[in-house]
Each structure stands twice: as structure tokens, then as C-alpha cells.
Amino acid sequence: MDELINLKNVRKVYRMGDEKIVALNDINLTIYREEFVCLLGTSGSGKSTLLNLMAGLEKPTKGEIIIGKHHIEKMNEKQLAKFRQLHIGFVFQSYNLIPTLSALENVSLSLTFRGVPKKVREKMAKEMLVAVGLGNRLRHKPSEMSGGQQQRVSIARAFVGNPEIVFADEPTGNLDTKTTIEVMDLITDMAREHKQTLIIVTHDPEIAPYGDRIIHLRDGSIEKIVQNKKKEDYA
């Protein structure tokens, strides 16, 4: 049982003028290597905030976030960028592909920032797109693809660098039921195959059972944690 992410007394407060919004309050949480965690909760419960904190996209107001041996909350912009580049993949609800780039270019972009040469990164990106079933859409722009296809491209982008952790914020939020199942199967299969840790945010109770563990959030606090599978099964 290998601890990967540790949150200690994490608090996040947004200030809107004089008003304070407590998005997360005293979160203590451990996520294990190769675990698949679902963050479940109603709108505004703080799911996205928690995910963004763990991905180093936002800084906590208080508390510690430790990934591996790194204190995320103490890193500067430069270190965070490097850290994301090497260890983290991200899937968004709204795909967030760059509209002017083709599927292949979108997927290889993150490798570009790592300094991977063009030939190598295009080969890697192509393999990834084939793996998500888009081998015949390499040159398509996002606007020339369906929502499900775009989300597959963004999944390919998240996994192409073989990151340790993949974060997904409502990856199926914009998709119909059938496509939702396809996309969820794809993400979980990929993560399992490459022994990656997967953290998915959702408000859909139908999706939650995919997770090894379901963390219920309410008003910025952990309400309960449901163990779907025995820890020993994946540890």
C-alpha cells in the first residue's frame, strides 16, 4: 500500500470583496498509487477546487499537499509547470483542445513542451490516437469532430506522456449515456494498463461505482468515503 498523494488540513478560501467563500474546509485525505478515486458531490461542493489543488493549478489557503515527496503548495510557477509536464495528465469536461490544431498536434503539444523531437512525439501521439480509436481522425480539427471524439483526443493528450497521475474533471459531463460509458471504459482501461493513478470528479452517481473509492464531498468537507473494492485488491 503505497501512499501517493497526501492532503493535510487543506483549506481553500476565496475572497470576493469582503465576502469569504470557504470552498474547502480542513480536508485530510490520502490517495494511493494506482488507485482510482471518484470525487462525488453536488454542484458547488468543492470537487473541482480539490482537484485543481492536487494538480497544482491553485494554491491552498492553508495546509499541505504532498505528492510523492514533493510539497506542491510550496512550489513556484516554474517548478509547478515542470511538475505538471512530467507527472500529471488532465482531462476536462469541455475538452479544452486548441481549435486551430489537428488531433495529432493537440496530442503531441504536451510533448512539445517537454522538448521531444517532432518525429518522436508525432509517432507517440499517433499511437495514442489509434489506441483511443481515432486512427482515422489524425488530421481533423476539433471543430470537425463530435463531442465524444474530442474527449477521446483529450484523453489521448492526457495519457500520451505516460504521467503518474491523471486528473479528470467531469470528463463525461457533456456526453450522452452511451458515449459516457465508452469514454469511462477507455479512461479506466488506459489507467489500469499503464498502472496510473486516476482521480475523477463527477456529480453523476452512475459513474461513481467505476472508482475503487468514492469520496463524497459536501460544502467543502469530506462527508464520507465509500470503499468500493478492498484496498488489498489494488495495493
Binding site: Q85, T100, L109
Partner: protein, 442 residues
């Protein structure tokens, strides 16, 4: 991100917004070319004045006069206490000043040259035949004075026109002089009566006549030498003594014999004239050189150039604001894209480099096309604008607009620098953009 990807990505981004990129580049083009053309007119003006000055004489020659200025009057002797003598020793000292190539005393006297039926009033200039070759006397025919010459003369290029036929003139006819400076017999005399019979009772000095041996004629077109006649200084001094004797002029103080009124000092290059001139004036002499006027003219033309360049600079400033505007707009449009890039691992340095590269490229391209444009405009000015510019002090036939090669490189560097500078603020904004907020914008 490696460099080649950065360039590829930057080019792609600019190409994506072709029209706007083109218009921004056009702004830089106009800015750069207006600066270059304005400066080039300044350079043209400078060149034109230089040409004019060099026709007025030699720019690297300093005229030295006996010092009368400065110092206190010594009541007992009636001489200035620190008056310096312009004698052979002083000339030798001038020769030892660094960058001085040659120095010669200059003795002048006036008289008349008669050649057959023609005659001319002339200024005889006696100089050191050893040093004549070092001064910029451009020979057209024959040779310059050499050591050992005695009654040898070198005519200025315009001397031909100085001769006239006295007898014809008296009858009211002017015939163009028909003298062969090199081969005709030339006789010099201090007698300037031109052959008129003496008035009754008038006592005329009996001057000697000197048979001159013409060894050379200088090129025409130098206002300083055109109407002079050069002879070895020893000969001229001897002639002056003989003249004074003929006129019963009181014998001069022996000690002053060796002093000159004027000397010429030749400097190795125009850049050192001021320095040498300073040394000479510091030791108590008066000195004048054409580079004094050159200095004045340079001051004036650099003022003009600054004004012209300033006008050009305003348009480049407008262009720089244009670049900033374009890049800021591009950030607004690409906010989300920048957010995405940051989330998937672009470092802030990558973002900064990308934006700076794009704006630098706009600057560089604007600079390149601006230079092309400047050469076209410069060509146009030189070929079609001369009528207008002749009226504002340009010499006929000189170029109005000159673009030195260093200006081309300076313009490229400058426009690229302006591009980077204009892109700096937008780049910082892009860097500081919060990834998560950027990604939320639609």
C-alpha cells in the same frame, strides 16, 4: 520547448492572423523606412557639404599664423610676453606633433607674369619643395616642386583664365587667353605697371625680371589653389629681398629674418585635425582649418538629422504601439489557449519566449521590408527629387539621400529590438495569466 518548435509555433500563430500580422508589419515598415529615409537625407546633406568643402581646399591642412592673441603686453619691449615665433624651429616642432605628415612655411608675394602678349596678376606662394608632395596638390600636367628646384613654378589649375591681352583690352576687345602654361615663356616681375610709360618725374624702382621654368600645372576645381602660383620658398624669399632692395625698403632686423607669417601643416587624417590644431593653438599660434567649418557643418547637419530622425521616430513609436496592441489583442483571443498550454505543461518561460518571438518577428520583418522600401524611396529622391532639393542648399549633382550600410544593420537590430520591447508587456501578461482562470474563459 526547443527552439525549432518555438519558431514553428510562432510562425503558425502569426500566419493564423495574416491580415492583422500584415497590417502590424506594415506599421513597422512605415516607421523604419521613415527613420531611414529621414536620416539618409541628413547623410546626403553632410556628404554634399563635404564635397563642397573639399573643393574649397584640403580638409586635412591646417593654416597656422603667427600668434597675436592671448598673453600680456610687455610694456618695456612692446611685445607680448609669450609671443611665439613662427620660424624654422617652430616648423620642425610642428612636424614632431603626432599625426602630422608635413609642415611648411608659406611666403606670399604679388606680381605679374608676362607671357608674350598676355599677362596676369599673380600671387606667388613660396613653399618648402620637400613637403609639397605631402599636401594634397593634385597634379594635372608635369610634376610638383622638388628639392633643388630654383625658378621652377607650379601653376594652379585656373591660372589659364587669369591671362589677358592688355593691348586688346585697351582697344575694347577681349580675346580668350591663348596661353600654354607648360610651354610658353613666362617672365615674372614685381613691376605691375603693365608696360605703361612712367609719369614724368615718377621714380620707378628697377625690378629684376625672372625667367620662370614651369614644371607642372595643378588640376582645376580647387578654390584654394586655382589662382596661385607655387615656387620654392627659398627662391621667393630671395625675390622678396631683391624687391625690397629695388624699392629701397629699410633693411629688416636680422633676427626677424627667419620668421614667417603663415605655415601649412598637413595631418594624416581628418579625424586628427582637431587634435593637432589644438596642440598648435595651445602653443600660442593662431590656426585655422577647413575642418573648423566642417565641425560647424557637422553640428548643423546632426541637428537637422536629429530633427528628421525624430520625425521618423514618431512613426516608429506609433508602429511599436501597434505591435503592443496586436500582441495584447492576441492574448485576449488566446487566453484559453495559453491556459491550456500551461495546464498541459508549458513553462512560463515557453509562453514568454513565444510571445516575444512573435513580436520580434513582426519587428524584424517590418525592418527588412522597411529597408527595402527605404532604398526605393532613396532611389526615387536621388533621381526625381533633385529639382526640389537643389533649392535647399544641396550641391548640384550630389546625392540627396545616402543610406550607409551600417544604417541597414542598425535599422534591422533596432526594429527587432522595438518588436521585443513592444512584446514585453503582452508577454508578461500572458505569463502571469492564471491557468485555471484562463481555461474557464470561453
Amino acid at each position: 520547448m526547443n527552439r525549432i518548435d518555438l519558431i514553428r509555433m510562432g510562425l503558425k500563430n502569426l500566419w493564423r492572423r495574416k491580415l492583422r500580422t500584415f497590417l502590424t508589419i506594415l506599421g513597422v515598415l512605415i516607421g523604419t523606412s521613415s527613420i531611414i529615409v529621414m536620416l539618409s537625407i541628413g547623410f546626403g546633406m553632410q556628404e554634399s557639404y563635404m564635397g563642397m568643402l573639399s573643393r574649397m581646399g584640403d580638409l586635412t591642412t591646417i593654416n597656422v599664423y603667427k600668434g597675436y592673441g592671448g598673453g600680456y603686453m610687455d610694456a618695456s619691449s612692446g611685445r607680448k610676453s609669450n609671443e611665439v615665433k613662427l620660424n624654422d624651429e617652430a616648423i620642425e616642432n610642428f612636424k614632431n606633433i603626432p599625426h602630422v605628415v608635413a609642415a611648411t612655411p608659406l611666403v606670399e608675394t604679388w606680381g605679374m607674369i608676362v607671357s608674350g602678349k598676355n599677362m596676369a596678376y599673380v600671387t606667388l606662394k613660396g613653399i618648402d619643395p620637400n613637403s609639397m608632395q605631402h599636401f594634397e596638390y593634385k597634379i594635372a600636367e608635369g610634376r610638383l616642386l622638388e628639392p633643388g628646384d630654383n625658378l621652377a613654378v607650379v601653376f594652379g589649375g585656373g591660372m589659364r583664365y587669369n591671362f589677358y591681352n592688355e593691348r586688346d583690352l585697351k582697344r575694347g576687345i577681349y580675346t580668350p587667353p591663348d596661353v600654354d602654361l607648360m610651354n610658353d615663356r613666362m617672365v615674372f616681375t614685381f613691376d605691375t605697371s603693365g608696360g605703361y610709360p612712367a609719369m614724368p618725374g615718377e621714380q620707378r624702382p628697377r625690378y629684376k625680371e625672372y625667367n620662370l621654368k614651369v614644371v607642372g600645372v595643378l588640376q582645376e576645381g580647387n578654390w584654394d589653389t586655382d589662382y596661385s602660383v607655387f615656387m620654392p620658398i627659398d627662391t621667393v624669399q630671395k625675390m622678396i629681398k631683391e624687391k625690397e632692395k629695388a624699392e629701397n625698403y629699410p633693411q629688416q632686423n636680422k633676427s626677424k629674418d627667419n620668421e614667417y607669417e603663415t605655415a601649412l601643416v598637413k595631418v594624416d587624417s581628418i579625424d586628427h585635425v582637431e587634435e593637432v590644431q589644438q596642440v598648435i593653438t595651445d602653443s600660442g599660434y593662431n590656426a585655422y582649418s577647413l575642418s573648423d567649418s566642417l565641425k560647424e557643418m557637422k553640428k548643423m547637419s546632426s541637428t537637422i538629422q536629429a530633427v528628421l530622425g525624430g520625425i521618423g521616430a514618431i512613426s516608429l513609436l506609433v508602429a511599436a504601439i501597434g505591435i503592443t496592441n496586436t500582441m495584447v489583442m492576441s492574448i485576449y483571443e488566446r487566453t484559453k489557449e495559453i491556459g491550456i498550454m500551461k495546464v498541459i505543461g508549458a513553462s512560463i518561460r515557453d509562453i514568454k519566449r513565444l510571445f516575444l518571438f512573435e513580436s520580434a518577428l513582426i519587428g524584424l520583418l517590418g525592418g527588412i521590408f522597411g529597408i527595402g522600401m527605404s532604398f526605393l524611396l532613396s532611389f526615387g529622391l536621388n533621381h526625381f527629387g533633385s529639382g526640389f532639393f537643389m533649392n535647399v542648399g544641396f550641391e548640384p549633382g550630389s546625392k540627396i539621400s545616402i543610406i550607409p550600410i551600417w544604417v541597414v544593420f542598425a535599422a534591422l537590430a533596432f526594429s527587432t529590438f522595438i518588436g521585443i520591447l513592444s512584446g514585453y508587456y503582452p508577454a508578461r501578461r500572458a505569463m502571469k495569466l492564471s491557468a485555471i482562470e484562463a481555461i474557464r474563459t470561453e
